[in-house]
């Protein structure tokens, strides 16, 4: 079997972005497992850059043992794109067919990349595209949908309802999701009857241990505490957590502190200042220690696509409390039995009191969550699942030793791109 080409609009080892980070982890672990693969991308630096500015040199480089082929991005009409994109960002304002064409045509694209995908299809068993909404994905899939697998990273947002995607995605060979609610959303929006699809999850680092005592000693937290880790902005619903916590203290007495970790800021009411410990960013080992020491970890966000922090809390064997309005985290809690969820204050209070009053059940929840994470999202499991999915689709996995033959051959890449 031939190698697998992973196609992403931009690639770098230290660029921001969820899909970017996921691909980095995935290709690194697949490569380590001996899967032959390449990254096929544009010369654009990252999402925040000008999408027609070729920051990297076109050609081939090998970094961390992985071949990266970069192709020049096309020039584009950013103003036309912005006009259509503004409509999409404003909500579900329907686009005309012409506007949808403007969207896919005037966003990041690379004719050279498409040309390469089409001309070299025999050399690859599969092309794996991530995420769904970019021109490199749309036009890339068009080159050979029968060899294309998509990791869409879907959210319920206006872009997923575009007709161009609804017309194209049923032709895909395969689709990979992170969570079951994401798969359900895709099945609702697209016709996937002919597309092999599966929920494979996301790989996370599970090889760490937290030390509760170390956290308490270092940060001088003595009381039992509820933990929140993440950005402290209203998009994450932290203000609701603070309001609920304040009410909880008023109604139940000062039995539980609240520890906040992560960036952003929130102005706390004076009367609870002594009970809320906002430590901001802390070293990663301290975060792991904080998970281990928490009575319960709370993620009040309504809109999560995976929730790494919930998984981390489970690795530390602590139960979680999540918003009942978030389909993904609520689904994880139900599947694992690793915690409780809440709709409204009184359920929040009931859930906190239950976890606080039933330490044995809370411990069982934490252990159950940990088992689920280890069984589903540890890297060896994720690698195995991906390999099995790819094997199912095309009957064999490429061997890494057969590839990476074009090391640092920029001229070679340039000639390849001309085909």
């Amino acid at each position: 079997m031939n190698k697998i080409g992973f196609v992403i609009p931009w690639f770098g080892w230290d660029i921001p972005g969820g899909a970017e980070a996921e691909l980095r982890g995935l290709v690194t672990h697949l490569h380590d497992a001996g899967v032959g693969l390449e990254i096929l991308t544009t010369c654009v630096k990252e999402f925040m850059s000008d999408w027609s500015h070729n920051f990297h040199r076109p050609g081939i480089v090998v970094e961390h043992g992985i071949t990266i082929r970069r192709f020049r991005a096309d020039s584009r009409n950013a103003a036309d794109f912005a006009q259509v994109n503004a409509k999409l960002m404003a909500g579900r304002i329907p686009l005309t067919a012409e506007e949808e064409q403007i969207y896919v045509h005037e966003m990041i694209n690379s004719r050279e990349l498409c040309h390469y995908l089409s001309g070299h299809r025999q050399e690859y068993s599969l092309y794996v595209f991530i995420p769904y909404m970019f021109g490199t994905t749309y036009y890339g899939i068009m080159q050979c949908p029968e060899k294309s697998v998509l990791i869409p990273c879907l959210h319920d947002e206006s872009y997923i309802y575009m007709k161009v995607f609804a017309d194209l995605f049923p032709k895909l060979r395969g689709m990979i999701f992170h969570a079951y609610p994401e798969e359900a959303l895709a099945e609702k929006v697209y016709d996937l009857s002919e597309v092999k699809h599966a929920v494979l999850g996301e790989g996370i680092d599970t090889e760490w241990q937290g030390d509760a005592r170390r956290f308490r000693d270092k940060y001088h937290v003595e009381k039992p505490y509820m933990l929140y880790a993440g950005r402290k902005d209203s998009g994450k619903n932290v203000d609701q957590l603070i309001a609920y916590y304040r009410e909880y203290l008023w109604r139940n007495g000062e039995t539980l502190d609240l520890v906040l970790l992560g960036g952003g800021s929130i102005k706390l009411p004076k009367d609870i200042e002594g009970h809320v410990h906002d430590f901001g960013f802390v070293p990663i080992q301290d975060k792991y220690d904080a998970y281990a020491g928490a009575d319960v970890f709370c993620n009040p966000s309504h809109n999560e696509s995976f929730s790494l922090v919930v998984m981390e809390s489970w690795i530390a064997q602590r139960p979680v409390l999540v918003s009942g309005s978030c389909a993904v985290t609520r689904d994880f809690v139900r599947r694992t039995g690793g915690g409780l969820y809440f709709d409204g204050y009184f359920e929040f209070e009931g859930a906190v009191n239950f976890l606080h009053g039933h330490p044995e059940a809370a411990e069982r929840m934490g252990k159950s969550g940990r088992r689920y994470v280890l069984e589903n999202f540890s890297w060896p499991v994720i690698v195995e699942r991906y390999m099995s999915f790819f094997t199912d689709i095309c009957g064999g996995i490429a061997d890494a030793s057969h590839h990476n033959t074009d090391r640092c051959n920029t001229a070679g890449a340039a000639s390849g791109m001309q085909e």
Binding site: A78, A243, L340, G350, F354, K367
Partner: protein, 146 residues
């Protein structure tokens, strides 16, 4: 290990809420607005600022006219009207685009300056911590000598 029945616990919690007759009106702090950071608010957030700057870079150079689509007769009329007014609009657009580019460049410079300052502040913080530690050690040594 016996799995915990989450839904059973949730049902019990809901039954208890019902039995105790809790109502939203009983809550004390529900109407008190907290000052959580708005994702697109005015308080400084590096992430938001970078996003805004990206938006500005993206939209600083605008074309005089956006493409027309739809009814051919209508678009023809619109095109004619645009042509007529082009001599008035074009210089103003050029001026505006130049202004946008200058503002964006200045903001990018400010952002770079802020990033440099942040790094310096971080360094200062570490140095201050080191000084505090050393002072503490000096105090301890003095005490021991006494």
């Amino acid at each position: 290990m016996q799995a915990v029945d989450i839904e059973k616990i949730m049902e019990e919690i809901r039954r208890e809420i019902k039995e105790k007759g809790y109502k939203e009106e009983d809550l004390h702090f529900k109407d008190i607005a907290l000052d959580a950071e708005e994702p697109s608010g005015m308080r400084y957030s590096r992430e938001d600022a970078e996003r805004q700057l990206d938006y500005l870079s993206f939209h600083s150079d605008n074309p005089v006219f956006f493409p027309l689509s739809g009814n051919p007769v209508k678009t023809f009329v619109q095109r004619v009207i645009r042509r007529i007014f082009l001599f008035v609009i074009y210089p103003a657009f050029q001026f505006q685009n130049k202004h946008n580019a200058t503002v964006t460049r200045f903001l990018k410079q400010s952002m770079n300056y802020m990033n440099e300052n942040e790094a310096l502040m971080e360094q200062l913080k570490k140095q201050q911590e080191q000084i505090d530690r050393l002072n503490e050690e000096v105090e301890n040594l003095k005490k021991r000598q006494d």
